[in-house]
């Protein structure tokens, strides 16, 4: 049998159904929309704005986040320590942008993990889908709490030094008893202002 080729990606368009969204979808720490969040790890809030060229907000875009649990494990067969992963942590969430391009995720501080003979710093992978993006954009959020780990992270090392700060979430006070981190995205702009995106 000849191997099939992957199906082409297309834009999500301007009309991704709002009827798909449910409260809790944007909480990575809940297995279901109404399950309690896992008790392991530090609960955090991640907030930001998605903007296109000129700093104009992107409306009705969706963002999807995926991360390891507080101990740096994924409950997935590709993680050798999957059996030890937090059974009450899903690690995935979907948020959508409002008229200001603002989004919010609720999650917990991820753990780092060994990758080959290197070590990934604590991070959250983020995918952006919006009208006009003919395929989703992938980026990664890091935290200033882990300066030494960030310096050693093999993926962050691929980003030109002057662009790395764009990938580090900014501490922004507290809300509802959780630390708040801000991560704004600019899809298109001057080289030093545009969010770095990745491709595999």
């Amino acid at each position: 049998m000849t191997a099939p080729l992957p199906t082409s990606a297309h834009t999500i368009g301007p009309f991704f159904p709002q009827t798909f969204f449910r409260i809790g979808d944007n909480d990575l720490a809940r297995m279901t929309a109404d399950a309690p969040p896992t008790a392991r790890g530090e609960r955090i809030l991640l907030r930001g704005r998605l903007m296109r060229e000129g700093g104009v907000p992107c409306v009705n875009a969706i963002l999807e986040a995926w991360q390891a649990d507080a101990a740096g494990r994924f409950r997935h067969p590709a993680d050798p320590e999957a059996a030890l992963a937090d059974p009450d942590f899903l690690g995935w969430g979907r948020a959508w942008t409002d008229a200001d391009g603002a989004y919010e995720f609720r999650t917990l501080m991820p753990g780092g993990f060994a990758e080959g003979n290197q070590r990934r710093a604590p991070h959250i992978d983020l995918w952006v889908m919006a009208s006009g993006l003919m395929r989703q954009l992938a980026t990664t959020i890091y935290f200033a709490d882990f300066a030494a780990e960030n310096t050693a992270d093999p993926v962050l090392a691929l980003v030109p030094p002057e662009r790395r700060a764009r990938l580090v979430a900014v501490a922004d006070g507290e809300a509802e008893g959780m630390r708040v981190f801000r991560f704004d995205l600019l899809l298109r702009g001057a080289p030093e202002a545009e969010t770095p995106f990745f491709v595999e």
Binding site: P4, G13, P77, V159, G189
Partner: protein, 238 residues
């Protein structure tokens, strides 16, 4: 999820399959596409993993968009769209979450941002979500969507199409795409479909009609398979 179906290899996109951007007449492709090239990174554990029980988070089973209640049918040609979600080795992807949304028969979306004059259908919302079975199969009962004009100067019409969002076994398998209908003359004029450079890749976005015997007389049947990125475990390299 069964570990045996989890891909561990992700090839770069083959040439000609990814849309060429920006697209003339589609302003958002100019303002949203990054100016700088993406940074190539190795796929680490975060990218080759993904949520294994996503259907608990995103409830599935909503596979009939055409019937909203007893005796309440959407207007339009009743159709059935079915197919399989496969990986790049042709293996079925089990337990994938498949989301579908579309315009009504008049080409209007049930969405506050769609403010065109085309009529809304009180019996049509136009989205559904299901989970693939052990053979990677999915299926939706719906109506054939209408064409609609793109709100831009020097406009063109989008051909009838159905939007798909597929969440597979890894975040690298994530796919958002659109399905078209065979033989529609608007297909060749659609700047979004035609942005895919390779003709064979475009052809793979077009559903195939299936014989009535396979789906019954009530619904006009279409088959549409979707291939996600990702390959099986490979032999150890020397």
């Amino acid at each position: 999820m069964d570990g045996a179906i989890t891909p561990d290899r992700f090839e770069p996109w083959p040439p000609g399959i990814e849309p060429a951007v920006p697209i003339e007449g589609y302003a958002n492709t100019f303002t949203h596409t990054p100016a700088l090239a993406p940074i190539r990174r190795p796929a680490t554990r975060t990218e080759v993993t993904g949520p294994t029980e996503l259907w608990r988070k995103l409830p599935c089973g909503d596979d009939n968009l055409a019937v909203v209640g007893p005796g309440r049918m959407a207007l339009g040609q009743l159709i059935h769209i079915a197919g399989r979600i496969l990986d790049e080795d042709g293996r079925p992807v089990r337990g994938a979450v498949v989301e579908l949304w579309q315009a009504n028969a008049a080409g209007r979306y049930f969405h506050p941002n769609d403010d065109r004059d085309a009529p809304l259908d009180p019996n049509f919302v136009g989205n559904g979500r299901i989970r693939t079975d052990e053979e990677g199969r999915y299926g939706f009962f719906t109506i054939k969507p209408g064409a609609y004009p793109v709100p831009t100067p020097n406009t063109w019409w989008r051909p009838p199409h159905v939007h798909f969002s597929v969440l597979g076994p890894a975040t690298l398998s994530r796919l958002v795409t659109q399905m078209y209908f065979p033989g529609d003359p608007l297909n060749l004029l659609d700047r979004i479909l035609m942005s895919v450079p390779d003709a064979a890749a475009r052809e793979r976005l077009v559903a195939r009609p299936i014989p009535p015997a396979e789906v019954g007389l009530g619904w006009l049947g279409y088959r549409h398979d979707i291939v996600l990125r990702g390959r099986a475990a490979t032999p150890v390299q020397p």
